[in-house]
């Protein structure tokens, strides 16, 4: 297939070389406009390659010149094609959105860097998912981190931001180290890092090594995915990025970690060790629950969305975990189902999370704030944005007719099959996960009622929100495309589900396409028809309306301050789950001493996550303390230095004497 090869090459060349060079080196508006156009063309090319490979199952392989002794090559097999499709299909609307976002937000110089890095960022993610040698994978993996950090720093570089970026980079690097180790553990058996070699070497690995590889891959990819307790960077890095970048980071970059885990867990290791399923399930359950609980307590929109990414990755992990568990218990059919659920949720989350982040970008564009307490009543002022955002909310909550539901439903069904296993633990654990997933879903619903209700409905809570105007055309276009995708995928899931089923059959040998995917595809249109029919009928018999002020309990009128705030809304849930949050509350009364006649009372509730306090802080402190101790050895006294040399020599000689 020469055509596909050429298309893929042009995708790589456009995104990796031409667009950045044109942006950074070119002069004049025309060149810049041209490069943005070329970027979109490049993404379309990638989309075409991915689409053909995914639906028609035609693999594409590109061999690049090797570096030193290490071969480099890219290959698009069906799994890669799925993820490439995901990347491109999200990048396209995000780039459309960016065309107006970048012009409005950045001066010319920054805009150039923004576009160049954006293009490289998309490319690096594409490289990660299409790499077919370890080296290519790691190159893409590290590039992805650096470039995204650069994109965050373009937005601004105050001290706190730098600190957040630093934590991001550090954790990503540590995670990458784990991934590197996971790859390298193969080396004695595979004699190289080509994926084919790894695949065939996996058969001959000793059990301990299998476990170690799986564990390292799990830790490494979970760090990228933001699984609790490796999530520390996520709520720091995602909110401070420019909105289109947040959309890409949350919507797409996290998915590369899922890709990695699937690649290792299914493609290479064929399920990993026996405990792998429990590990992934537990990680997913903890991340899902804590992620959504942390999200509810937030009132910064982008931080909230970032925590929801933790939650949704948790849901994906639940699917993956149950698939691994089925695989370990010799039930490939259901493993297939769970894997499909996880992969579909990956795609769904990419679509709706980037939609929501773009929505947040549009809000920030119009109101210059992302603090929920200062928003309100935006739906009337930004109808298209509001409608698209509502679609995003419905999807992430998993309401029927939207795409999030399909994947959550498949996950539920796969849990239900757990009861058919012969392994007692799995038999209990899997069905109980239904409860966890239901709780996550319920909390997510509560959270997005809060988000949408407080931001878009009711009265505006600040003058900025009151004077908000609809976002520019391209921004709206980007959001609408994503919203339509969410709805279409929610109504007609089979278009994606049937190739996904074939993909899952490749990854889980010995399975067939599960009947559930046909089942849900059949029932959803009917349900939708019922709902829409009822709505249409009710709309048709609608009586007249009259606008009237609501009753204000006898007061002169209601003000926006009387509405429930975001904090107030989440209070019941926060007080029920108080043990999770462990807030540090301080109440200051002035003047002090008179507890009943205070002039002013200030209340602060601060939350440092327990993980930061009890897990990371001691670790970092220990390293720094060790470094200072070592630094003390460098006393500055030359006599001590000489003593070191003599002592080294003497101890070596002593060793020599005794080891002989």
């Amino acid at each position: 297939m020469m055509v596909l090869d050429v298309t893929f090459w042009s995708f790589l060349a456009l995104l990796g070389v031409i667009v950045p060079l044109l942006q950074l080196g070119g002069r004049g508006r025309f060149v810049r406009a041209l490069s943005i156009f070329l970027l979109l063309v490049g993404i379309l090319a990638g989309l075409a390659v991915a689409g053909v490979c995914f639906w028609k199952n035609v693999p594409v392989t590109l061999r690049l010149p090797s570096v030193a002794a290490f071969p480099l090559s890219l290959a698009v097999d069906r799994l890669s094609a799925f993820f490439l499709f995901l990347i491109c299909s999200v990048s396209l609307p995000v780039c459309i959105f960016s065309t107006s976002y970048v012009t409005h937000h950045y001066a010319a110089e920054k805009a150039r860097w923004m576009w160049a890095l954006l293009s490289l960022f998309i490319l690096s993610m594409a490289v990660v998912v299409t790499a077919s040698t370890g080296l290519a994978f790691l190159v893409g993996w590290e590039l992805m981190t650096i470039v995204s950090a650069g994109l965050i720093l373009i937005e601004g570089d105050s001290e706190e931001r730098i600190h957040d970026v630093y934590i991001y980079l550090l954790m990503m690097h540590a995670g990458a180290a784990a991934v590197v180790a996971a790859f390298f553990l193969y080396w004695p058996y595979a004699h190289g890092l080509e994926f084919d070699a790894l695949r065939s070497a996996s058969m001959s690995l000793p059990a301990g090594l299998r476990g170690a590889i799986f564990l390292l891959a799990f830790v490494g990819f979970s760090t990228k995915a933001g699984i609790i307790p490796f999530h520390l960077w996520l709520p720091r890095a995602h909110p401070i990025a420019p909105s289109p970048v947040s959309a890409l980071m949350s919507g797409v970059m996290l998915k590369t970690a899922i890709y990695g885990l699937v690649r290792f867990g299914f493609d290479f290791l064929h399920g990993g060790p026996r405990w792998s399923g429990y590990l992934v399930l537990a990680a997913g359950a903890v991340s899902g629950l804590l992620g959504v609980l942390y999200a509810i307590a937030e009132h910064d929109l982008k931080r909230l969305l970032a925590y929801h990414s933790v939650e949704n990755i948790g849901i994906i992990y639940l699917g993956l975990g149950s698939s691994l568990l089925f695989l370990a218990n010799g039930a490939p059919m259901w493993a297939n189902l769970a894997l499909i659920a996880a992969l579909l949720h990956t795609l769904n989350h990419a679509l709706f999370k980037s939609l929501l982040f773009l929505g947040a970008g549009a809000i920030a564009h119009s109101t210059h704030t992302l603090d929920l307490e200062k928003l309100g009543g935006l739906l009337g002022r930004m109808p298209i944005t509001g409608a698209a955002f509502l679609v995003g909310c419905c999807s992430i909550v998993g309401l029927p007719m939207f795409n999030g539901f399909i994947s959550e439903w498949l996950t539920f069904r796969s849990f239900l099959y757990g009861s058919n296993l012969t392994n007692t633990e799995a038999q209990v654990v899997l069905p109980l996960m239904i409860g966890i997933l239901a709780l996550i879903g319920g909390l997510a619903a509560a959270c997005f009622i809060k988000v949408y209700g407080v931001a878009f409905l009711g009265r505006p809570r600040s003058t900025e929100a009151e004077h908000a105007a609809e976002a520019p055309l391209n921004m709206r276009l980007g959001m609408v495309v994503l919203a339509l995708a969410c709805i279409l995928l929610g109504l007609f899931p089979l278009t994606v589900l049937s190739p996904l089923a074939s993909l899952a059959q490749l990854l889980v040998p010995g399975s067939t396409a599960p009947e559930e995917i046909y089942f849900i595809s059949r029932v959803i249109p009917w349900v939708a028809l019922t709902l829409l029919g009822a709505l249409v009928v009710m709309q048709a018999v609608r009586r007249r309306q009259r606008v009237a002020a609501i009753w204000a309990c006898g007061l002169p009128g209601l003000t926006s301050r009387m509405q429930y705030t975001s904090t107030a809304f989440s209070k019941p849930i926060r007080s029920v789950f108080v043990s999770v949050y462990k807030p540090d509350r301080t109440v200051n009364r002035l003047p002090t001493g008179q507890s009943y006649f205070a002039n002013s009372i200030s209340y602060r509730s601060q939350r440092t996550t327990s993980f930061e306090k009890f897990l990371y802080r001691p670790f970092v402190d220990a390293i720094v303390a060790a470094a200072r101790q070592v630094g003390r050895l460098q006393t500055g006294n030359i006599q001590v230095y000489l003593l070191y040399i003599f002592l080294t020599l003497v101890s070596l000689l002593v060793c020599l004497r005794f080891l002989r």
Binding site: G377, R413, G435, K450, V527, L531, L535, R543
Partner: protein
Amino acid sequence: MTMALGAVQVLILILGAPLARGIIARIKAWFQRRQGASIWRPYAELGKLFQKEDLVPPTSSLIFILAPRVMFAAALAVAAFVPVLQPFALFGSVGDFVLMVYLLALGRFFLALGALDGGGAFGGMGASRDALISTLAEAPLLLALAAVSISARSASITGIVGGTLRQNFFEISAVHILAFAALGMVALAESGRMPVDNPTTHLELTMIHEAMTLEYSGPSLALLEWAGAVKLNIMLALLISLFGPWGMAGSLSPAALGIALGAYLLKMLVLMSVLAVIESSMAKLRMYRVPDFLGVAAALSVLAVFFTMIAKR
């Protein structure tokens, strides 16, 4: 013919819902040694409301009008899942319990949005409290249904009903008892009844569901009220069909259908009496005791799931 009967079942659930409300109110009045209003009064109220015009707050948006309608449409769709007279429902065989629960959630989601769109303080208050309750109710609801579904080896509602039907009443397992208890508790919470919520109060400290509908009027309010009644009716019908389906029409003969209708009405009456007893004898729980109440339901449902494993040995 089966399809037509399915449509009839939906109509029974939808149109009979106000009646069920009326009957419960009447039984409660009887317990409280009052005369009580006519059992048809809810119809009259709905009719009255439908005559009126919709009052819309000046700051609200499209969502405010949309919410009650989505709520009702969702209730309608859910009604098509529940078998009443025969072990069959329109969506009962193709739709499973997860879809059903999520359709209920769809209605709730929009109701809460509509409440927040009012722009007053009470809507937010109600939505916030309702969010807590429905969040906590969702897990036991799904777990209890899952337990039943596991023991019936089917996920669709009609499949579960069929599974229960094949069983003898006296062989009913621990799973069913536990799941029934859990589902009963959740049904109380879901439909906003005592001891979780008091449907008759308008005291700002205590109201939950009522706070959400406070700014609504006219047809919108009517739809909300109706939808609420349908939800209660569905819950009761669901309890009946899942745990006591015996008597349902095996064939489409008039006699069988007659028996089925009679049995349904009887069982309904029993459940409504129980509900009335509970509502008359219990005080509403404090807001922050509700999680404990639902926690018990969750524990029961977890046990139910656990017992499915034991039952299988």
